[in-house]
């Protein structure tokens, strides 16, 4: 399976998830967007040695995963993209920062190891949060939320239109790639002789497609202004969700929850 087919399957999987029903799916998209942004912001605001205090932040996404019934498996599959990058940066930390910060029994743990682990943890948490947002919110609701949050309509419309054609174009390229490799067995990529024409062909076709798309918009009365789907009003439940989530996050950020919990038992 080539990369484009892979991407198509991922896109389609996200759509299927977002089309499900759960208390989280039913929430106002703007509330979800704000919570997600706040969560990511708070996670990354922990200092680089704050492993212990960062850990309780896992509770929010875990709760959401469970309430929404979104499988964690698909989310962790996406880690393959995020983790290597974060690791590449974090892996140097144990080498440069060797001052022992903590002793487990007699084994010293250096600051570098802790900061590397904290960094990885941050990467995983942020991914879980943004994954949850997309897995519980269809793109049209998200676009409506962005409009409500005063993102310029040109950008939002462009996002919607592009998203629609990403699927179409990726599928077309997937077929072209398969066709290429059927006639060029053993080649890993596109040979230099076809560097220009392979994508160039698609590019020229795309321009014709854009022309036709524009016609179809014109014929349905387009005159530079886009109308968006029905906006789900911000209700009591959304306010409660927003307040509860933000309180939980702030509590974890301000108080060393793990340490306090531990102190209760010792």
């Amino acid at each position: 399976m080539n990369k484009m087919n892979q991407a198509l399957r991922e896109l389609s999987a996200m759509d299927t998830l977002a089309a499900q029903h759960s208390p989280i799916h039913g929430l106002n998209a703007a509330a979800k967007l704000i919570c997600t942004a706040a969560y990511i912001l708070i996670v990354v605001s922990f200092s680089k040695y704050d492993f212990g205090r960062l850990l309780p932040m896992v509770l929010w996404p875990v709760l959401l995963f469970q309430i929404s019934g979104i499988p964690v498996r698909i989310c962790f599959y996406k880690l393959r993209i995020v983790l290597p990058l974060v690791m590449a940066v974090g892996l140097f930390n144990p080498l440069f920062d060797r001052m022992p910060l903590l002793w487990i029994g007699t084994v010293p743990v250096s600051g570098g190891v802790i900061s590397m682990l904290t960094l990885m943890m941050k990467g995983i948490f942020c991914l879980m949060a943004s994954f949850l947002l997309i897995a519980t919110t269809p793109i049209d609701s998200l676009a409506a939320a962005l409009r409500k949050l005063h993102v310029p309509s040109m950008l939002v419309t462009l996002l919607l239109l592009t998203f629609r054609y990403v699927g179409v174009m990726t599928e077309e390229l997937a077929i072209m790639t398969d066709a290429y490799h059927l006639r060029a067995p053993g080649q890993k990529g596109i040979h230099i002789s076809a560097w220009g024409s392979f994508l160039g062909q698609l590019l020229l076709r795309s321009m014709d497609r854009a022309q036709e798309l524009y016609s179809s918009m014109l014929l349905r009365g387009y005159h530079g202004h886009f109308h968006y789907a029905k906006w789900k009003p911000f209700g009591l439940i959304d306010a409660l969700y927003l307040a509860a989530s933000l309180t939980l996050m702030l509590l974890i950020r301000i108080f060393p929850v793990a340490q306090m919990l531990g102190a209760l038992f010792i």
Binding site: R164, L219, H227
Partner: protein
């Protein structure tokens, strides 16, 4: 009512695509537009919709001359089903695509929604309403494209190859849908059997000229005429 009178058209500096074309289609008529590739079928439709301009002669759509000032009115009255449904359906979901046209013509959300529901019900495809455009099958996509056009309640419907790349069952569904539409219809296609099923009259274009104009049964049985213009008899007659 559609009227073409002595219409000629050429893309810049190239061979003329249409030469001295004259015909008239009465309101409520269903007309098939046939002809080999490059005969000028698409050009004819685009001229009628005002997507191309600069033709000589006179073109009337629903009695209104096609000109820049009248475009808005004409496009409100004409629906165009594109051959490639992906190009027609540019919104994320079927529902939003169907709402696009009515909302642009200043209908209120409730009225537009009402129209969408009526059309979906009529076509028996309520289940498609909230589906994503890139996750529905080719047949569903074609039906949805027709639905987006119907939601605008046009008086004239133009269709470009409405049955291309459909399996027999979906093709039949589309044919039955077309038959039930009471609007004026102009259908361009190479699927001559479909034309027989849906149209009473046929226009045969060849090299930009009108080669024949008459009852569908008559023209589509004329093997000599069809073969002369790079076409074949419909399957059921051969």
């Amino acid at each position: 009512m559609i009227r073409f009178q002595h219409v000629s058209y050429a893309y810049e500096t190239e061979q003329p695509v249409l030469t001295d074309l004259s015909f008239q289609i009465a309101a409520g008529e269903a007309v098939g537009l046939i002809g080999a590739n490059g005969a000028g079928k698409s050009t004819l439709m685009k001229l009628l919709l005002g997507l191309l301009s600069g033709a000589s002669g006179e073109i009337l759509a629903d009695g209104i001359p096609v000109s820049k000032e009248n475009l808005k009115e004409i496009r409100k009255k004409t629906g165009y089903v594109l051959q490639n449904s992906d190009n027609q359906m540019f919104m994320p979901t079927v529902y939003e695509d169907m709402m696009f046209g009515p909302l642009n013509y200043m209908l209120s959300r409730e009225e537009a929604e009402q129209r969408v529901d009526t059309v979906l019900q009529k076509l028996n495809m309520e289940y498609l309403k909230h589906r994503h455009n890139h996750k529905i099958s080719g047949g569903e996509k074609r039906m949805a494209a027709i639905a987006t056009v119907l939601a605008m309640e046009p008086e004239i419907i133009l269709m470009d190859e409405p049955t291309s790349a459909l399996d027999p069952c979906n093709r039949r569904i589309v044919i039955n849908t077309i038959r039930e539409l009471s609007q004026t219809k102009l259908i361009a296609s190479h699927d001559l059997d479909m034309i027989l099923d849906t149209c009473d009259r046929v226009l045969l274009l060849s090299d930009g000229k009108l080669a024949a104009d008459g009852p569908a049964e008559e023209i589509l049985r004329d093997q000599k005429l069809l073969e002369e213009h790079h076409l074949e008899l419909p399957l059921r007659f051969s």
